[in-house]
């Protein structure tokens, strides 16, 4: 009885979320078209500053033009449609971002566990982690590529896509490290003493207590990291000049922006969808991992 009611409530909540998402999307499109109607063709100044964007078709193509552009060939005479090109690019970028995210999670967790184990490491390392995030990606990209290029271990040679994943990992590890550190140190003293009373070694407190207790902290961190991995991958694709991904498409289509303005927006939409898919996957993981945990009542 209660179960059926609960599952019906969950279904309703899910349906409502889908409807809300569609509404929000519609609202964005409507806002775009509305501005095109009322906004100045050549842009405009507010208090002398160029603030209002141009609403002419070259700067802001119609929503339906963009949608149509997906279905038409990429170049005149090419067999591939823009939609296919964007989907392939997004899939490629998704794989690079996933490798980056995985790497970021491993490094972030490793650092967090070290910091949770040894206070000295935390004090020494934490400031450097924060500094690491202030390094501009654009400056980092050529460095990683050139370091990677010098790497030859046995039959292994560094591939350019690896540099991109490493750069994505460089952005993704940070929220994981910070979130995991907070989570790993979250158990109350009484819980730690309980395990001490069983003469449990540190590894047991890690696996039986600290890691499970860190889950509620890790999930939001993972959402941030997934986002960072996607953005990092796209920016790194552009700045290392790697072909095949959505970042490259943005760059290529941008060159044609004057003649074919709708085209570049298809790549931008592709990148956004990629970000949403990544966030959705993390959401699914969150649902699975937290299935037996108490939830705050959601009304």
């Amino acid at each position: 009885m209660g179960d059926r009611q609960a599952s019906r409530a969950r279904m309703r909540a899910r349906a409502r979320r889908v409807v809300m998402f569609a509404l929000a999307l519609l609202l964005v499109c409507a806002g775009w078209e509305l501005y095109k109607m009322v906004g100045p063709e050549a842009g405009g100044k507010i208090f002398g500053a160029q603030l209002l964007p141009k609403s002419e078709n070259r700067a802001m193509p119609h929503v339906w033009d963009m949608v149509q552009r997906f279905g038409r060939p990429e170049q005149r005479g090419s067999s591939r449609t823009v939609g296919q090109a964007v989907a392939e690019g997004a899939w490629y970028t998704f794989r690079l971002a996933s490798v980056g995210l995985l790497l970021g999670v491993l490094v972030g967790m490793g650092l967090a566990i070290l910091m949770a184990r040894f206070r000295v490491v935390e004090r020494g390392l934490l400031p450097w982690l924060i500094v690491s995030q202030t390094v501009p990606l654009i400056a980092l990209a050529p460095l990683v590529v050139s370091w990677g290029g010098r790497l030859h271990i046995g039959g292994f040679t560094w591939q350019r896509w690896m540099s991109v994943s490493v750069i994505a990992a460089f952005l993704a590890f940070f929220p994981i490290a910070i979130g995991a550190l907070r989570g790993l140190t979250s158990p109350p003293a009484a819980a730690v003493e309980l395990l001490a009373s069983y003469a449990a070694p540190w590894s047991a407190t890690l696996f039986k207590l600290r890691l499970p207790a860190a889950v509620p902290y890790l999930m939001p961190a993972l959402r941030l990291a997934a986002n960072a991995a996607v953005i990092g991958t796209i920016v790194a694709e552009i700045s290392t000049g790697l072909k095949g991904g959505i970042g490259r498409l943005v760059l290529e289509y941008m060159r044609e922006a004057t003649g074919d303005p709708a085209k570049v927006f298809t790549a931008v939409v592709g990148a956004s969808v990629l970000g949403l898919v990544m966030a959705g996957l993390v959401g699914l993981l969150d649902n699975y991992v937290s299935r037996n945990r108490r939830r705050e009542a959601t009304i």
């Binding site: 003493e193 069983y198 047991a204």
Partner: protein
Amino acid sequence: MSDFAVDVAGVSMVFNNGRPNQVRAIDDVSLTVRSGEFVSLIGPSGCGKSTMLRLIANLIEPTSGSITVNGKPAAQARLDGDYGMAFQQAGLFEWRSVARNVELPLELKSWDRAKRRERALEMLRLVKLDEFADHYPWELSGGMQQRVAIARALSFSPGLLLMDEPFGALDEMTREHMQTELIRICAETGCSVVFVTHSIPEAVYLSDRVIVMSPRPGRIAAIVEVDLGKRSEDTREATDFFNKVTEVREALRGFEHTDRVISVDDR
């Protein structure tokens, strides 16, 4: 082998020794708990009774003196799993089902899965919660959670139970019910218990002996022997019971009084 479950000899505990914020929490305390005996430590906040319990549990090392549990040094007793512990907060792991919470110490002692489950169910029957084995802690009331914590502490048959105000966060009705349950469980398992509380009736109702401690530094002010025979709900209204409650209360007042006299003299 000694027949003492716990033997504390001349123990002192100084926190932050040698530093400006040095605190003498326990001063030269000696006490013994016989096998199968129920002993309560009572005293006002800050008298070092929780510290005493954590010393027996070897969660902290004494500054001086020696502590023997089951005839061996406290550190060895901890490694051997000679005692189980329960705190004021039940401290169940919310990501584990009730049964898996009870299994936790057995997991750490590498019992195999089937044996763990069997023992957990047996322990949950003992605390009358076997129906709730597959529920999660947040689905249980405070009193039920505390019973799970007791089942967890007893799961590996430790023979000695160390309890730090385990019923302190419960309402009066639940509390009396839990006291009755604890006495039954101790009778069934033959456990010795060291029980920290600040409730005088609770200490008298449960204990064979009540150790009254005085604060700053923690010392034993008095030891009250309680011989009320087999406990029942009638015990709570018996004249002997009230007499013992009064005796403990006066022991607690005794040092409060001298405390005041000393501070007046100091001035």
